[in-house]
């Protein structure tokens, strides 16, 4: 799947959240979406997911706009928000089965089992999501999207709640996902990890795209662009 973002802009009331965004993505791209708070990262992800409508410009998936009635394309887009998009009073297993059925995968019991095993939640399959910690919920979301396998996977700050093993699981999943020809766009404040995984980094600042380069090593351009956004006296190489 090819993605083209053309002159994308979004305004909320009297304020522009995003302005004049242009971007082209190819299969296999892993994009690190970086920038300070309020830069417009979440807005951009929601626009890509088709949850909100742009004020100006367009996003094209293989040349066509994503419509709410376009089931085929919708199946190809996933959004991972760490603790959300799960039903509190359904069990771990029921949630996965529900979403599998929603995305047209009938009789997914085996896939559900496998997904749960991979993120190490198999023995908690009958627990309500409300009883899980936020880290576990994030793992469940990872399992969900692993099962649904979208062509474009968007992630909004997944590192925040994950522990060490969780991070390993996430990164293994994301790298594998890209290798299979899908696109990943991940918004994160964990710059070092994001840069290690990505094939391209973009920086949003006050709604504008201020930096867009494929990964290099060393990366003086990135150092220069990102320098202002770091806590005082720190480097992003942790």
């Amino acid at each position: 799947m090819q993605i083209a973002v053309r002159k994308l802009a979004k305004a909320y009331g009297f304020r522009w959240a995003l302005r004049d965004l242009n971007l082209e993505l190819q299969p296999g791209d892993f994009v690190a979406l970086l920038g300070p708070n309020g830069a417009g990262k979440t807005t951009f992800l929601k626009l890509l997911a088709g949850l909100i409508e742009p004020t100006q410009g367009s996003i094209l998936f293989d040349g066509a706009v994503l419509r709410s009635s376009d089931a085929v394309r919708r199946r190809q887009v996933g959004l991972l928000v760490p603790a959300d998009h799960l039903y509190d009073h359904l069990t771990v297993q029921e949630n996965l089965k529900f979403f599998a059925a929603l995305y047209g995968k009938s009789d997914a019991s085996e896939q559900v089992e496998r997904a749960l095993a991979e993120i190490d939640l198999l023995e908690r399959r009958a627990d309500f999501v409300a009883d899980l910690s936020s880290g576990m919920r994030c793992r469940l979301s990872i399992a969900k999207w692993q099962m649904l396998d979208p062509g474009l996977l968007l992630l909004d700050e997944p590192y925040g709640v994950l522990d060490g093993p969780g991070i390993d699981m996430l990164e293994a999943f994301l790298i594998g996902h890209c290798t299979r020809g899908n696109i990943v766009i991940m918004a994160s404040h964990h710059v070092a990890r994001a840069l290690k995984l990505c094939s391209r980094a973009i920086i949003l600042h006050r709604g504008h795209l201020t930096f867009n380069e494929p990964r290099q090593d060393p990366w003086p351009g990135f150092d220069a662009a990102f320098g202002d956004f770091l806590p005082h006296g720190e480097s992003w190489r942790s």
């Binding site: 305004a11 009331g13 009297f14 304020r15 522009w16 302005r19």
Partner: protein
């Protein structure tokens, strides 16, 4: 921007005023009093045009709502919202006029006569429309909500009409306008003329007020756009 549009509005307003003045003169002075109801019948020259323009308004709300859901152009939503506001105004006017007529005729300020009931329900629906729009913060969500209500409301009107009329006619004798004869057979020609002129006047007044309200909405949009441009 001021200029030709403002002038056209001004002319519209002036014409409306003239037409209403002529209509009032015709209705109050030239036309004879009603054979059965006497002088109080003259309020019909205001009452009938009021309710007809109110219905026109709701039709425009329907059109604006439908167009907005289809094309999502702000001007269609503005038309719907403006028409709803002016429509509520004219409906309230109709009810007030009906009440004024009712007091000397039936002895009461209000009764659940079919027509009055219907008008009251319309007032409730479209006041609800305005309230709903003001209670939804996000402007585009408010517009969608309004559009949905505008369509549902209009489609419901014939159903409400039927149910209220059936409800009432099973309980009371037919109302004042003799249904067995066509309305115009009862009416003296100069009364018809007065009615026609009044109607034209109200129509002009309606479009004048609508254009004012629409212009207000346009200006608000313009302010929003300019503030947006400046914050870029």
């Amino acid at each position: 921007m001021p200029g030709p549009k403002k002038k056209r509005r001004g002319i519209l307003g002036a014409l409306a005023l003239i037409a209403i003045a002529i209509g009032l003169y015709w209705g109050l002075v030239v036309a004879p009093p009603d054979a059965y109801q006497g002088e109080v019948q003259r309020i019909m020259y205001l009452h009938l045009p009021s309710i007809l323009t109110a219905y026109l308004s709701y039709f425009l709300v329907f059109i604006g709502s439908g167009m907005y859901l289809w094309k999502r152009e702000k001007r269609d939503d503005l038309l719907a919202h403006s028409a709803a506001e002016i429509g509520v105004l004219f409906t309230a006017l109709t009810i007030a006029e009906g009440s004024i007529w009712g007091r000397p005729t039936w002895g009461v300020w209000w009764t659940w006569d079919a027509r009055l009931t219907l008008t009251a329900i319309l007032l409730l629906i479209y006041t609800g429309y305005l309230m709903m729009r003001s209670l939804i913060e996000d402007q585009s969500r408010a517009a969608v909500a309004g559009a949905v209500l505008g369509i549902i409301g209009f489609l419901d009107i014939p159903l409400i009409h039927m149910s209220v009329y059936w409800w009432r006619t099973l309980h009371q004798p037919p109302s004042i306008l003799r249904p067995d004869k066509a309305p115009w057979e009862n009416i003296h020609p100069s009364m018809l003329t007065a009615l026609a002129i009044s109607f034209v006047g109200f129509l002009l007044l309606y479009f004048y007020l609508l254009s004012l309200r629409y212009r207000l909405g346009e200006m608000r949009e313009e302010i929003k756009t300019r503030r947006l441009e400046r914050s870029a």
